[in-house]
Symmetry: C2
Subunit: 440 residues, 2 copies
Amino acid sequence: MLIEPKNISWFPELLPEERIIELEIFDTIRRCYECAGFVSVETPAVERLEVLTSKGGDDSEIYALHRLNGEQEDAKLGLHFDLTVPIARYVAQHYSQLSFPFRRYQIQKIWRGERPQAGRAREFTQADIDIVADGELPLFAHVEVVAVIHSVFRALGFDTYVMRINNRKILRGFFESLEIPEDTIPHVVRTVDKVDKIGLSKLEQELQTLLASQMIVSSILEYLGLRSLSNSEKLAYLEAIRHPLLAQGVIELREVYERLIQMGVEERFLSIDPAIARGLDYYTGTIFETFDVDNVSFGSLASGGAYADLASHFIDRSLPGVGGSIGVTRLLQLFLQSGKRTPVAATPTRVLITRVQEEYIDRYVALLSGFRDASIPAEIVLSASQKIGKQIAYADKKGIPYVLIAGEDEFAKNVVAIKKLKTGETREFALGSDMSEWLF
Amino acid sequence: MLIEPKNISWFPELLPEERIIELEIFDTIRRCYECAGFVSVETPAVERLEVLTSKGGDDSEIYALHRLNGEQEDAKLGLHFDLTVPIARYVAQHYSQLSFPFRRYQIQKIWRGERPQAGRAREFTQADIDIVADGELPLFAHVEVVAVIHSVFRALGFDTYVMRINNRKILRGFFESLEIPEDTIPHVVRTVDKVDKIGLSKLEQELQTLLASQMIVSSILEYLGLRSLSNSEKLAYLEAIRHPLLAQGVIELREVYERLIQMGVEERFLSIDPAIARGLDYYTGTIFETFDVDNVSFGSLASGGAYADLASHFIDRSLPGVGGSIGVTRLLQLFLQSGKRTPVAATPTRVLITRVQEEYIDRYVALLSGFRDASIPAEIVLSASQKIGKQIAYADKKGIPYVLIAGEDEFAKNVVAIKKLKTGETREFALGSDMSEWLF
């Protein structure tokens, strides 16, 4: 009896032609991350539950492990659900062997047993990047993390995104300047953070239930009106508000913003957004999130921020940092669904060596080795007895762009013929000559 | 209270300087696999238990999943313990969307809850490669899979390995030619397969308990004596034995062997070994395993073979194939422990831009962007107020090979100074000139 061959829902898998696009995205991310001086780290997929739940909060999404034979493990284990907890554990564990500021990237799968929603998966890949300092974190670290995310999107040719950027000190300072009571501020932040979901009039209602004074509500709405201004108008507006914490936040935001522009980030990709908060407790400085303006419903594609302490649950040292994360699985889905990327081939092979006259098999194999030695991905037709039409159909179906055809006539002239399948154009090359330019 | 930051035993993790070496190995494998026309496939780490246990046998090594909140999943799930079962499921599931012969590689972590032994891990990475045919598998596919494993080892500069190669038809045919009863053959194969572990005299004893005739035992021992001959002597010896199945195996083995030599595999890396069997049921044709002759105790670093049917549990079609697997985690441990690879740097950064005079910060940032635009991994000192000695110490500790030093004197001359830390040698470069040759 056959078992139905099915992967599990919400654990996505790709066809080869899609996987090639995913690899191209991974390669681009890695190249950009490394070019900015970040080193790869990989942590095991499995951590002790004690580590996974160290930050507290909702642990219902964790996949725990048990042995099928019922044997007890020494420790209770689970799959990591983000890369932040594992890197906190890693930095604390290997503290004495790392150099700070520690700049690492980490591209790995994570698992979350959450209730399935559109655009979500239970297994997906994140590409995280962080700079962690031992003691004090220079502001330039914020610039570096934000700049590298932009460099990835630029290298991917992704030009419809906008990164919304803010500084937590501005938001908190502004609410303090309105003399909102300390214990009400978190509720106000959470409400304001929802503005894009609920709209301005619903927001006003919710603020009115939180805040006694309509004047304060109006000030907040005016503040949100800022969002329609240009980046420099926003900075100028914010600089006019007198409040020490807010002023510190604005100085930081301007410095980060201007350095990004200096480093080649185009202004159209940056939107200073005084409303975004990105959760409440963790972030303390620069914060950002990134959307495709044509596909906002996909949610944030890359987000992050600066935090006061990475690993306080694991080590008695102050390790402030700044980090970001690109949601690679989501970005790939966006690219495929929006047509920003279209699958073209189900193989890396550039040229298929056909077997038109079997007596030349030794020559065909020599040609095969020649291509590979020149780093040109090549295949030979595996079967000895196929009609040439079937051989070419194989190349066509897989998206192999070129086929090499050589028989008695060609070898008599010491040439081979290479046909570009898309156009039908055929060129002859002298045996042993460099064909790489034509094949790429 | 702090949680002890510890990864789990047998779930290895690497320091950054070791991870760089692991990545280099992954990159090399991928480059060689793709150059031979294999496409990447990745399957979810999680499969239904029904799929994982489809091959039968011992399932006690499987890590099954459960939700921490006790919520029941629709299906019982577990982590894959090899890449063979998942690719069988994948090929059967996507059969109509794949082109055959299907050539895929798959580099992924797998998990096995086995009893810890030296050199083993519970989470490790394999780099699998297979050619799967729909109907009939041409012998050249065997050549391709074996050749690509050699190309990886050559590209890694690994020159102390030997691949032992055999054909299951030879072993079985030889035992048939001795008229060993059909149901005894599997026991004899298993015993002969152990010869390197137990030695010849213990082997003789075990064979004597299995086989009534001392003449047959002597013939087997003579056959094993073959192993001291040269490859061509072995082939000649085998060709002299008259038995149809064995003869077929020898024809295949000679063809594979000679093609490998033609494709540039040096004879010293190949050892025709009539004793190896690689388990009993699965393989039907070419089989191979690969050892470091200086470190045989590490076990096989790459092994595989040809099989009659990939996915008979999932699909009612004959899908014969040939595959191999490189044990990347084991290979890395071998390289590190034997000194074949030595960590040199904990960062990809080639050049650190120092901040000797803070008034030039804009120029330093412009230099930083310049390096990165030229694809030269570069960092700037993040903090504004460090002594130059401390800045250089950071580069030294991380293994950054070059530091850029530029202040009033240099900028007055429109140059920057770049110092190679290892030798102390300093060169001046005109601003905007190409420094890439010096930096790599």
